[in-house]
Symmetry: C4
Subunit: 377 residues, 4 copies
C-alpha cells in the first residue's frame, strides 16, 4: 500500500481560547517581567523593527514605559537624513501606487553614518537600544552598531535558520557572530521545534517566532509558506524547554506578528511565549512614525514584494495602548491590563507560570452571539 | 522528543444539533420543573442579573410566569433612586460615547437603603426574589439582602473559583458564607469540570456556567479567555454527576449566556444544563428595562471594559417570548414550547432525562439550504 | 475521572464530494430505476408533499415523466375548493405577514370530499397517485385515501418513530395500519440507524430520511434538532442493509430535503439513498403550484411555526429540470443527466451500485477558485 | 452492529501551508527543470488546453520562456478559420447569454485541415508543440497530430481511467495508442492513487491530476464529483512513487487547475507535483487569446454544461507573470520567483527534493490579521 504524507493540524489565535483555572488571583499580584541576558524589562512587549512603528522617539518612549523597541537599520531611518518626509510621502501615496513607491524608496543606499547617529540619539536619552539587521547585511553593519553601543542586536529575516546556503556570500554563522559582537543577539524568524533548537544551540540570547502572520504580510499568499502563531509558539516553546534541559540555559522566545488585540497576546503567552513583538497595534499610537499607516519590511522587495500597506488609523498615546484606562472594548487598548487580568483568571503570578495555562480549540466563528453583536451594534 | 501541549476541541451552540430519539412523546407529556433547594420553578428559565433585563417589575412578572429573575445589587437599581432616567440616558447615547457614559454611570456609589427597598418591592408582590453580588462586595452587602428577606443569593463574576488570592481583601470563602447567609447561594461563572466540582464541595446550591459567550460580552476578544457553551456545560454537568455520586446531593447547573434562539436553549439542556440564564432574548421583551438595548455588566469596567451595547429591539411581551403563540419563525419566541417540543422528539419527560439526549457535531454553516434561504427570503 | 459525553461528527451535502472510480462508463449505460413494492419508477425522484410543489397537475406530469409526486392531504388542496386562489394570496403576501397568513389559511378544516376528488383526478389521468398524512390524522383520513384508490400512502411528520407516546390519542401502530390499508406505506422522517431499523421492522415499504435540512425549514433554529443529510442517509442506509440481512426484504430509503443542485442528489445516492424527495428545486418549475415561492409544512404551526417562505423564482418546465438540455451551469437543471453522469465517472450501472461509490470530506468553502469565481463572474 | 462508511478528509490549497525547513538556501541555487521523456523544460509550468489561454502565439511564447502550452484540438482553434473573431464574440456576450453562445460556437465541426495548420505554425517557430484531444476523438484525430509532428499528445477529459466502458465506441486503450502514436502521451484527469497507478501501467508519459477544482469549472456543483487538489496530488504522487518502485520508470504528475496565486503552485509542488497546469492566471496575460475572460472546456456541453465564464482581466505580459519583477503583492505575478523562494526557505535544490517539504493543515480563514487587512487596505 502507498505511503501517504501525514498532515498535522496547526492553529492560529482565532482558533483557540484560554480556559480559566481552579484558582484565581488579583491582577495586581502578577509579575510580567521579561528578561534577556542581563536586561530586565517590566513588560514583555517589544515593538517590531518596522518603519511605521519604531523610530528614535518611539524607542525612547517605549523604553521608559518598561518595554523595548527595535530600530530597523535597513529602513528609512538609515537611508534618509530626514525620514519624516519619506514617511509622509508613503502615507499620502494612493493605494495602487504604494508598492512601486516603497520599492523606489527602499532602493536608496544605507548611510553608515546614520546608523551611529540613530543609536546615539536613543542611548543619549538613557533608553535601552535594540537594532535589527538582515543576515546578509549583518557582518557589514553589526560592528557599527556595536561601536555605537547598541544594547541588543536583532538579526531578522522572513525565515532564518542556523544553516543558510548561498553562493554569493558565506552564510552567517551565529556562533561566530556571538564571539565578535559583544551584545545579546536575538535571531529569527522561525516556526518549528528543530529550527528553534538549532538556533538556540548557536548561543543566541533570544528567538523570534512567526512566519507569515502579520497584518501587513502576504508571505502566505505569495509563497504558500507560513505556520499559524499558536502552533509555532507551542513548538518553539517546546524547543526552549528542551534546550533548557540540555544546557541549563533559558533562552526566551518572542512571538512576532499577527496580534490584533489583547486577547491574542494573552493566548501567545499561554502557548509559551516569553515576550511578544507588536507591529500594527503600535502603529496606531499617536507617537508612531507611520502616520496611521503600516507596511511590512518584505513589502518593498524589488522583484517579489510580499506585503501590503494597511490603514490602521491613529487612536491614542502609546501609554494608553499599553496601560489604559480605556473606553474601547475591542481589546486594542490596555494590553498590559489584559495580560494581568488573563493571568489572574488563570491563577498565575509570572509569565512562565502562564505557560502552563490550558488552551482549548474554540474557533472564533462559533463564539455564540457574536454575529448578532456585529450585525446590530 | 519534545512534549507538545495537547489541545482539546470545544464546541458552541452553532456547532451541534440534537438527534431525535427512537421514541417520541407528545410535548404536553413533559415536565420542565427546575428545583433549587426547597424552591421549585415551573420553567427552567432565569433572567440574567443585567440592568437591561431584570428590574423589580420584570422580577415580579417572571416569577408569576414560573421563572426567576436575578436583580443586580451593583447596577443602576441600587445606585440611583430613579433608575429609569439613567436607563433612558444609556438608550439614547450615541454608540461612540456609550462606554464612557457607562463607566461614569456605574461609578456612582451603591446606596444601601436601595438594596432593601428593591428587594422589599419584589417580596411585597409575592414573587420569589433573587439578587446578585460580586465576590468582592458580598461580605458587605449580602447581610442587607438577607435582612430584606431575599430568597436566593447569586454570587457572580466573570470567572469565579473556590479559591481566590488577593492582597487587598481576603478571598470569599463560600463554605463560610453559607454558614452566615440563611438562603440558597448560586455561584459562578465557571466553565470546567474541576472548578465546578470544587465550587459544589463548598456547599453552594447552584453553579452558573459560561465565560465569554454572551452577546454583549467581549471577554474573549479582550482577554482571550472563554469556553464555548456546549463544552462548558458538558464538563460542568459531568462535575455535577460526579458530586452527586460522592455526596448524594444534586446541585443544579445553569448555563448562562450566548442564547440567541430556542434551539440554543434545547441544546444546552441536552448538554446537561438544569436551567438556563437568559440575557439578550429577554432584553427584547416589552417589559425589559433596557428599552431595546442590552449591555454587559463587565462593560462599565473603569480601566478595561469588556463589552458592547447592542440594539436588540423590543418585540413582544415576556409572556409571548416564553409561551407563544408566535408568528416569528427564527426561534426567538415561544421558548418553552421549543423546549417541550425538542423533548418530545427526544422522547423524554423531564429535564434530567433530556440530559441523555444525543448531540452530534453539525456546524450550522453546513446546514443545507440555509445560504439560499438567507439570500432569497 | 468524569465521563464526558462523546460527540460524533455529522456531514451535510456541502462538506463531501464523490471520488471518481478506476473504471468509467458511458452515462447511457446506467439504469436509475426506483422500486417500491410492485411499482417501478424510471427515475428515483419524488416531489415533496408540500403545497408549493405537488398538486393534481404536477402529480400527473411527474408520473408521466417517470417519477412520483406526493399530494399533501392536509394542505390547501383538501382545505379549499379552489386552492389556486389561496396559493396566489400566499405568493402576494408581504414577507412580514406571511407566517400569520399561513397560520390562518391552514386553520381551515380539511374537507373529506376533497380527498376523494383530488385522488380521483390524478388516477383518472392514468398517473400513479401518492398521498401524505401526518400520524395524528392517519387513522381518520387514510381509509378515505384507500377508498379513492391512492397507490401509495406516505405517513410523514418532522420526526416519526415506531413508538409515539401521547395522552390525547393512541399512537399510530404502523404494523396495524399495514393490515388495514391495502397499499404500500412510506413513513418518516427519521435520521438514525436504530429508528430506521425499527420502522422497517413494522413492515413499511419505504422510509423518508431527513430532519431539519430543507430550504424552507427552520426546525434546527427553533428546536436545535436536526442531522445533516449525508450522515443521516448513511446511517439509515446501514439500517436498510442490516434489515435486508435479517429479513431478506429490501426497503428503500428516500432522502428528503436540502437539495439545491444536481450534485447534492448524486451525493445522497452515493451515501446510500434509493430515491430523493425534492422540494425547492421543483418549486421552480413552471408547472409548480407555488408561483415562484416555497414554504415548509411545519411553517403554519399555530403556536411554534418552524419555517420560512422563500422566493425560488420560476425558471423552466419540469421536464427541463429533470432531463435538460440546459444552458444553466449551477446544477439546478438536468438532474437526471447529472445522476447518470456522476454514475458514469463512478463506473456504476445501478443506483444500488452507486451506494458503493467513495465519498470524501471536502468542505465546499475550500474548493479552489470558487471565491474568485463568485467575486468576478 | 451496522457498518458505517468511512469518510476520509481531503484538503485544498487554502487549507494547507508549507513549513520552512531547518536549512535555507538562496533561491538562485535552485533548479526547477521539468522533464517528460526526452524533453526538458526549464520551468515546470504548462498552460492549460483551454481556448482562453493557449493558441498558436501563446504556445510559441511560453515555449521560448521555458514552459509548455497545450493547444486544444477540439476548441475554437480547429473549428474556425478565424478564431479571433469567435473569441471576441465570447468576450462581448452578456453573462446571461454566454452559455448558450458557447454551446452554439462549440457545435461547429472540427476542420481536419486546421489541425495540421495550427501545429505547423507552432513547429515552424521552433517551439515545442503539445496538443490535446478527448478520449472519444483521439483515434480519429491523433494520427493527424502525429503527421503534423506535434511533440506531445495530451488525452484529457474531466475524468479519465484506464478502463472506460461504452456501447457507442470501444474504449480508448492507452497501451495500444502508445504503440501507434510515436510521441509522449500525457493522460488525465485523475485524482486517486489506484487510477493514477493503473494509468501509469499503460505506458503513458505523464498524468494530469485534478477533477473539479478550476476557477471556471462547476463539476462539483453539477455532479457532486471532485477531490481537492492537495489530497489529489498527494495520492497521485504516492502512485508515481509506487510505480517507480515497481517499474523503475519515473512518470511525472502535473497538477491541473485551481491555482490562483504563486503560493498555490508552491503547495502543489510540496504535495508532490512535478509540474503545474495553469488556466486562469495565464488568461490574465496580455498575450492570452481570451481577452480578459476565461471559461472551462466542459462549459459548452450541449445538455449538461459544467462551467462558468469568469472575467479575469488583463494585467501584464506573460513574461512578467512568470518571472516578474512586479509591484503586485497578491501572488499573481512572478510565479517562478515564488517557486524558487519557497524552495529556498525549504532548503531544497530541485522539484523532487521539494516533494519532501512539510505541509501543515492551516486554514486560510484563520491566518491572523487578514480580516483586518481586507477591511482596511
Amino acid at each position: 500500500m502507498a505511503k501517504f504524507k501525514e498532515l498535522r493540524r496547526a492553529y492560529g489565535f482565532d482558533e483557540v481560547a484560554i480556559v480559566p483555572s481552579d484558582v484565581t488571583i488579583n491582577p495586581d499580584q502578577t509579575n510580567i517581567d521579561f528578561k534577556i541576558e542581563g536586561l530586565t524589562f517590566s513588560i514583555p512587549v517589544i515593538a517590531a523593527a518596522m518603519d511605521a512603528v519604531s523610530d528614535v522617539n518611539f524607542a525612547i518612549l517605549l523604553s521608559k514605559l518598561g518595554g523595548l523597541a527595535v530600530l530597523n537599520l535597513e529602513g528609512v531611518q538609515t537611508r534618509y537624513d530626514n525620514p519624516r518626509e519619506v514617511l509622509a510621502e508613503i502615507a499620502q501615496a494612493p493605494q495602487a501606487e504604494v508598492t512601486s513607491l516603497l520599492q523606489k524608496i527602499y532602493s536608496a543606499p544605507i548611510k553608515e553614518n546614520l546608523i551611529g547617529e540613530r543609536i546615539g540619539a536613543i542611548k543619549k536619552a538613557g533608553a535601552v537600544c535594540s537594532v535589527s539587521l538582515t543576515p546578509a547585511n549583518t557582518k557589514r553593519f553589526a560592528p557599527l552598531a556595536a561601536e555605537a553601543r547598541a544594547d541588543i542586536l536583532v538579526v531578522q529575516s522572513t525565515v532564518t535558520t542556523a544553516k543558510h546556503i548561498s553562493k554569493s556570500y558565506r552564510g552567517l554563522i551565529f556562533s561566530e557572530l556571538h564571539q565578535t559582537i559583544p551584545m545579546p543577539i536575538i535571531v529569527g524568524n522561525c516556526v518549528s521545534y528543530s529550527t528553534c533548537l538549532e538556533l538556540m544551540k548557536t548561543g543566541v540570547s533570544g528567538v523570534l517566532v512567526g512566519v507569515g502572520p502579520g497584518a501587513a504580510c502576504t508571505t502566505r499568499e505569495v509563497l504558500g509558506v507560513g505556520v499559524p502563531q499558536i502552533t509555532a509558539t507551542m513548538d518553539c516553546a517546546a524547543a526552549r524547554d528542551e534546550y533548557l534541559r540540555q544546557s541549563g540555559r533559558y533562552v526566551p522566545i518572542i512571538t512576532d506578528g499577527g496580534f490584533r488585540k489583547g486577547g491574542d497576546i494573552c493566548k501567545a503567552i499561554a502557548a509559551g511565549a516569553d515576550g511578544v513583538m507588536i507591529g500594527s497595534i503600535f502603529a496606531q499610537a499617536e507617537e508612531a512614525p507611520g502616520l496611521g499607516y503600516h507596511w511590512g519590511m518584505s513589502h518593498p522587495h524589488p522583484a517579489l514584494p510580499r506585503g501590503t500597506r494597511i490603514r490602521v488609523g491613529t487612536t491614542c498615546p502609546l501609554k494608553q495602548i499599553l496601560f489604559g484606562p480605556t473606553s474601547v472594548t475591542d481589546g486594542s487598548q490596555n494590553l498590559v491590563g489584559a495580560i494581568r487580568t488573563a493571568m489572574g483568571v488563570c491563577g498565575v503570578r509570572t509569565i512562565q507560570e502562564m505557560h502552563q495555562a490550558e488552551l482549548i480549540i474554540a474557533p472564533a466563528i462559533t463564539t455564540e452571539g457574536k454575529s448578532w453583536q456585529l450585525a446590530q451594534s
